[in-house]
Structures are given as C-alpha cells and as structure tokens.
Amino acid sequence: MKFIEVDEFVPEEGLPSLPGQILNILDELSRASAMDYTILQKIQYDPAIALSVLKAANSPLYGYVSKISSLQQAAGLLGPGAIKNIILTTPILERYQDNGGCHAPLDHSKLWLHMTVTATLASGLGRCLGHIETDVCFTAGLIHGVGKIALSAYRPDSLLEGIDSARCEGLPLVEIERRTLGFTHIDIGVRIAKAFSLSDQLIHVLKNCYAPENDKISDLLTGVVCLARDLANSWGFADDIPDGELVGRNELFSLLNISQKNLEEWTPGLREKVELVLQA
C-alpha cells in the first residue's frame, strides 16, 4: 500500500465541493436582484465552501483581531465579492471516477446532507440552550466532519476500504484508519483546521467530536455538536460511515445540563428547522 501522509489532505485551494452544489450557488449569484443574504443561505449548506470562507476570514490578509468562528460572521466581514471569488474557485469534486468496481461509490450527497442537518440541529440546540452562540454552533456542526470530506475527496478508495473493514470487523472507522493509514480522519480534520487558521474553539470540536480525549467531552460546543450529530443519525440523516460507539446521550445531557424531557420539548422546533433545510 502506498504510504500516505496527513499533509496530503491539506488543500491549498480549499476542499472540493459537489458540482451541483457549486452550480446552484453560482446560479443564485447570477440571479436578478439576488442579495447578500441569499448567498449566505446557499453557502451555509456546503461544508467545503464554508471552510474556505472561514479560511479567508482568518487569513492574515484581512487581519481581524480575533479568530472568526462563525460562518455568518466571516461572510459578513468578507463581503459578497470575496465570497463570490471563493465559490468561483472552489474545486469540483469528481465522484464517479472508475474505482475498479470493488466498492460501491461513496455517497457524497449523504455526507454533505449529514453535515448540513447536524449544523442546523446544532444551531437549534444552541438557541434552545440560550447561553451559547448559535452561529458558532452551526459552523462547528457544518465542518465537524471535514476530515471525512477530505478523505472522501482525495482518497475515496482508502475511505471505502476503511468503511468495509469497519463494518466487517465491527470496529469504528478511526480504529481501522489508525491501523491502515497510521492516522485518522480526525487527524486530517484537525490538520486542515490548523492549516486554515481556524479558531481554537472549532479545532477543539474537530479533535473531540468523534473520539474525545479520555472518552470525555468537557466543552459545551463539542457537546452540542455531538448531540446534534446523534439526533441527525437517529432521524435518518446519518452519513453511513461507521463511527462506532460515540458519547452517550446521558453524558451529553449532563454536560449540557438538560434532560430527555427538554429534548422532547425542543424536538418539534428542531424538526421544523430540518424540514426547512431539506426544502432549500
């Protein structure tokens, strides 16, 4: 097997996105009387573009005093011109290359949708909790699986092999990745986030949301993202990548200081938000 390094997954030009997704956004940009907020509405459903927007906003070129952790804030600071250029230069993800027929092609749309729904639920949970920035929750939810996206874009075979092995052996993907690649998609995500100068807050989420240090989550933001992802999975928006046993609900409830009853009360509102995303 060819030796792979984590740095291979750090793209200078940004992560690729789905062609249909980019086309939709470009169409929106060209639409008569389209305004700034409609662009934000479109890009907020694309983790790859969101990551590039955060990269630009946190680059020394703009030199903002503090790190920008929210896509909404980043878009506001950069303005529509810079956003348009980011979208225009987003690489296209080529999904249907010949893969020798040994694996079913990865369902990238599912991966994208999983990230979007997780982001929406994280934002909704943030609003319900009331003492955490909802925009940051959204952004963290949207990019929490950036390592998976990079792996799926640049080494789809490795990811597919890892998924197959994980399913066969009943192990989480990260275990297989450690054994076969020597690093995990979490390492890739963190490496990209650091290379893109993302905030420590977001890097912490990427580091801990799949395999927390000492199996314990200590910060609210990671807790919100984990609960959002758990809900997304249980509501039928899983990315179908075997992540293994993640942090339990009760532990998340305790961290967020909420109860099952709270979650039940919030569920109709959260479902409504997800419905709106699906319509968009």
Binding site: P19, G20, I22, L23, L26, D27, L29, S30, R31, A32, S33, A34, M35, D36, T38, I39, G79, P80, G81, K84, N85, L88, I92, E94, R95, Y96, G101, A104, P105
Partner: protein, 365 residues
C-alpha cells in the same frame, strides 16, 4: 452498484460539470472585465481637481458600470446640502443644490451610511412623483460615498441594458464607489490645502495659517538651540478712515504698500505675514526684544514717511507695533507669544498710535 447505473450517474455528473464550467468561465470573464474597468477608472480619476474628476466621471462612469444614468452629489457638511457634481441625465439642472430631506432616498442613505437598493423604485416608499420616462427599468441604487465613516457625497445609479442587476453587479458598484470616494476625497483635500496654503492673495505675504505653523517651528527651534525669538504685531492706524475716505480699493493699496515695506526691511530669515484685515505679523528668529524694536521702528518710520498716491493726491498712514519675545518658560507657545504682541500693540494704540511697545508676559489678560 451495477456498471450501467454507475455509467449513468457518471454521465449525469459530467453534464452538471460542463454546465458548471461554462458558468464559472462566464463569471470569471465578467470578474476580469470588472477588474479591467476598475483599474481603468482608478487610472482616470486619480486627479487633483474635482472639476476634472467630475468631467471624467460624466464621460466614463456609465460605460464603466454598464448603467444608463447616474448622478453624483457632493455633501457640503457645513451647509448640510447636497450639490450636484456630475451626472448624465439630459434634463437635470447643472447647478442643483438639495437639502438631504428633499430626496428621501439620499437622506436615508446618508443617515444609514449604507447603500439603498430598490429593485422597483416606482413601488418603493421613496417614490413620490410620476415615473421618469427616461428609465426603461425601475431599479434604483443610492450609494453613500464615505471616507473614514464621513459622508462626502452620494452616487445614484439607474437603468441598464440588461434590465436587472445581481449581487455581482452590486458588489462591483460598491467597489467602484470606494474608488470614487477616495479620488474625490484626495482632490478635495488637495484643493483645500491649496486654498489654505502659504500666501495671502492680496499682499503676497504668508497667510495666518502658514505663519502659525512657521511660528510653531521657530519656537521649537528657539527652545532647542536656546536662541532668542521675537514677534512683531503691526496694525495700520485708522485704517477704517482710509477706506471711508479713499475707498476700499485704496485701502487695498495701503495694505499692499505696507506689506512691500515690511518685505523690503525683512531679513532673509524673517517671516512676514498678513494676520488679519490690516494686521501684520513679523517673526524675527534669533532676535531679542531690543533687536525687534529696532526693526519694528524702522518699518514704522518707513511707513510713516511713505506717500501713497490716490487720484493725483498723496496721503500717508502710520502703524502701531507690539513686540513679544521668548524670554521665559511661560511665554513659549504660539498663542501666548501672539497674545503678548497683541497686548503690546493694544498699549501702543492706547498710548497715541504710531509707536512701538515691547510687551511682557504679564500683559496677557
């Protein structure tokens, strides 16, 4: 996934990618065109005169922005009015001055400090009169021109060939407006600087602003090198009666004549300035109070002996002089030095005019 299904999806995606590349190509082309126009505009409006900028904008802005009509108003902050600087509307008055409240849309753009975009102006709350028959399309954009959060003008744009605008157009308009703001601000600063700079139009002496700046630097030099420095304030006695008797034109002749005498008797390092109506100031570096008195007396005597001709008759004027010198820590600012000279001049006037008085710090009230 079977091979047929895979091939089908591959073909579908290839079709989307083709459309995407076409779109990207088109948009990149448009971006490059905008960039070209922006650079061209920047080269053409990097001018130091507002009149030249207005002319260039009137000629080129519609082509640069791909719009049909525009008007640019400059905001006069002191009078709180908008003055039409340039436009390409066929029926607009050249000398149009509006109060901001005369145009609600401009008033609101100024108040908010951000653009206002009305996709259909005739349906907007700003629409008051009948529709302008010139405009084929109804969109209207008002962009406040700002430098460091200060409003310097307003740019109004309407109508274009394609009949709509999108976010890319808007972004381009906003970028262009930033360039225009910068050029206007530079030209205004330059024109203002020119107006205020160095010489007094009538006498050819330094003006007050220039004198105060020079006096400040002479005070600093005097402090640094511990050298004496004096200031003489001179005022033409009974100047009002010169104007009343001989007219203002002759009054100007007297001021020019006194200025010539001052210039003639000044040493190369001295600075003479017209300070006010008939008041002159003389900065005398490396000169103590007594030395300044000698020079002031020389000027006073020369003025007294000078004969002005007016319609075949001669007349003369006198001047009074007050002197201040830097001689202690309490008397080392522009204001205090001028204050001492002014007080001494007042005493010279009180004591019968046509004389020179050396002032002291205690005289400032």
């Amino acid at each position: 996934m079977d091979k047929d299904r895979f091939e089908k999806l591959k073909k579908q995606e290839a079709s989307v990618v083709r459309s995407l590349l076409k779109k990207q190509n088109e948009m990149l082309g448009q971006s490059l065109l905008h960039l070209d126009h922006l650079i061209y505009l920047q080269k053409n409006i990097s001018l130091m005169s507002m009149a030249d900028i207005s002319k260039t904008l009137a000629d080129k802005l519609p082509y640069i922005l791909f719009i049909r009509y525009f008007s640019l108003f400059l905001f006069d902050k002191s009078k709180k009015v908008l003055r039409l600087a340039c436009h390409n509307h066929p029926d607009l008055k050249e000398e149009l001055v509006l109060r901001p409240r005369d145009s609600e849309i401009m008033n609101e753009a100024i108040a908010r400090g951000s653009y206002i975009l009305e996709p259909d102006f005739s349906k907007s709350r700003f629409f008051q009169r009948e529709k302008n028959p010139l405009f084929e399309h109804n969109f209207f954009i008002t962009i406040p021109l700002m430098i460091e959060n200060e409003i310097i003008g307003v740019l109004n744009l309407n109508d274009n060939e394609k009949g709509y605008f999108n976010v890319t157009d808007l972004d381009f308009f906003l970028n262009v407006s930033e360039f225009i703001s910068l050029s206007i601000s530079n030209a205004q600063s330059f024109e203002k600087a020119e107006r205020l700079s160095v010489t007094d139009g009538l006498t050819g002496l330094s003006n007050r602003q220039h004198l105060e700046a020079l006096l400040m630097s002479e005070i600093l030099r005097s402090r640094r090198y511990r050298t004496p420095l004096s200031l003489v304030m001179m005022d033409v006695d009974y100047f009002k009666s010169v104007n009343d008797t001989f007219g203002h034109q002759e009054g100007d002749e007297v001021l020019t004549g006194v200025a010539s005498i001052i210039k003639k008797l000044c040493r190369s390092q001295d600075v003479a300035a017209r300070y006010g109506g008939e008041e002159f100031l003389l900065i005398l570096p490396e000169t103590n109070g007594l030395g300044a008195r000698t020079i002031a007396e020389r000027v006073r005597e020369e003025v007294e002996n000078h004969r002005f001709n007016h319609e075949g008759k001669t007349h003369s004027v006198t001047i009074s002089c007050g002197i201040a010198e830097i001689n202690n820590e309490e008397n080392q600012s522009v204001a205090s030095l001028i204050g001492v000279a002014d007080a001494a001049l007042y005493r010279a006037k009180e004591s019968g005019r046509n004389q020179t008085i050396l002032g002291g710090v205690n005289e400032i009230h």
